[in-house]
Symmetry: C2
Subunit: 229 residues, 2 copies
DNA sequence: CCAAAAGTGTTATGGATACACCCATGA
DNA sequence: TCATGGGTGTATCCATAACACTTTTGG
């Protein structure tokens, strides 16, 4: 009976496509690669893969991110399901996830293996299928998330400077932010800890390193903090 | 080659589940029905259906809403894809959509046919599979949307009173709102038009009917209005 | 006449914005 | 010494929140 009802239904290939986001050189960057198979072989594509029968969808996304970056410690969130009829030669339903990764942990040998490249989000080329729409939807979502929680930390290593953090938020919002207001707001949240050391890589004077207090951070998120810039 | 690569991949049944939301008796209501098939026959369930090979996913959702309510004019938005392995006996990937409908247009004969019932969102029983999670995610999403656009109009007919509109927003946010502040905010948005007639169904004095100016409303949405209560 | 819901303004507070100058340092 | 990016404080403004009484009318 169960089987009888389910039997004559159409089935679909189900894929995940991952918008893998990192932050480097004061810009958000996305990992894209040359598609190795037809159709559109050689076109720019997000990192994707098919979902296996024995894995949950987020697991598939995590697997794909690992395959292409070597990074295990990621922030992963679903963007949505995409599956227009004319999307591919075969009907494929694709579930998009964005992943925030610390680009420093990226395994560059994997990049060569997959012909993968980091590109600035502002200079994204045309991608295959509806991948550009997935990226646009991701940015909107990311802006919403960033307004509610200081999500940007996932894109940085343990240590960062305030100028770096600011430029990260400027990349997310795609607008400039007043230095003083930014610092005021971040520091009054009371989750940042100033260290003694300075990062002198981008100025002579050097900028103090900070790290964030994960307990306080998690506590704030519990309380449903509104963090708008 | 294409076929060769795609050939040995697993395929899945893909369903849509619809969180159909209406507003009546000062409460948000959701349409649920007794599941007619195994597994969990007789359990409370959202309105669902399988996606056909020749239809896009939002089309499938629209079709399902039509089948169960007879309503064509709906606001539809994707909530996300759900597809845990142990979700069903067969592996099913389900894409959830919420639909905002004007409950007055509901075709009650369809309710009997499908054993469908409107229940208050605050008194939702336990549903099959992960349908409760879908509803929780929907409410969160709806609250976010309601903060950015006056989405509530989709749940009302052409005419409504301010007390009704307020109680709608109170249902969405699940908290009470100050009358004066609510009216001030709504009226300064300048999209409501006050009519001469009154609705006397809920008070002796009667409350003035309003309708909203769709052009101004769409214009405001373009501008990315922030509408928080 | 009274109960029940509709309608109406003002004040206080706090977060957001705008804005300009000095500091430290390596080259 | 100077060019470059890092760091700091204050005043204004506007949106939000808090708050209580009068009006209407059917029963």
């Amino acid at each position: 009976m169960t089987a009888a009802f389910y039997q004559n239904k159409d089935t679909f290939l189900v894929a995940v496509d991952c918008i893998i986001i990192g932050f480097r050189d004061n810009d958000l960057q996305i990992l894209i690669s040359r598609r190795p198979i037809e159709p559109f072989r050689g076109g720019w594509s997000l990192m994707g893969g098919f979902v296996n029968a024995q894995e949950n969808i987020p697991e598939a996304a995590k697997r794909v991110v690992g395959e292409f970056t070597g990074i295990e410690d990621i922030y992963l969130e679903q963007v949505g399901a995409y599956g227009d009829i004319d999307r591919d030669v075969e009907r494929v339903i694709s579930v998009a996830y964005y992943a925030l990764v610390d680009i420093e942990k990226f395994d560059t040998s994997l990049a060569e293996k997959h012909d993968a490249h980091w590109v600035k989000i502002t200079l994204l080329p045309e991608l295959v299928f509806d991948h550009n729409k997935m990226v646009r939807d991701t940015i909107k979502l990311l802006q919403q998330r960033a307004a509610v929680r200081p999500i940007g930390f996932n894109l940085l290593g343990d240590l960062f400077t305030l100028p770096t953090l600011q430029s990260l938020y400027e990349s997310i919002y795609q607008e400039t932010i007043d230095k003083r207001n930014f610092r005021k707001k971040l520091l009054t949240m009371d989750i940042l800890e100033k260290l003694e050391e300075k990062d002198k890589s981008s100025s002579k004077r050097g900028a103090f390193y900070y790290n964030y207090n994960k307990e306080k951070y998690d506590q704030l998120i519990e309380q449903g903090l509104h963090f708008s810039l």
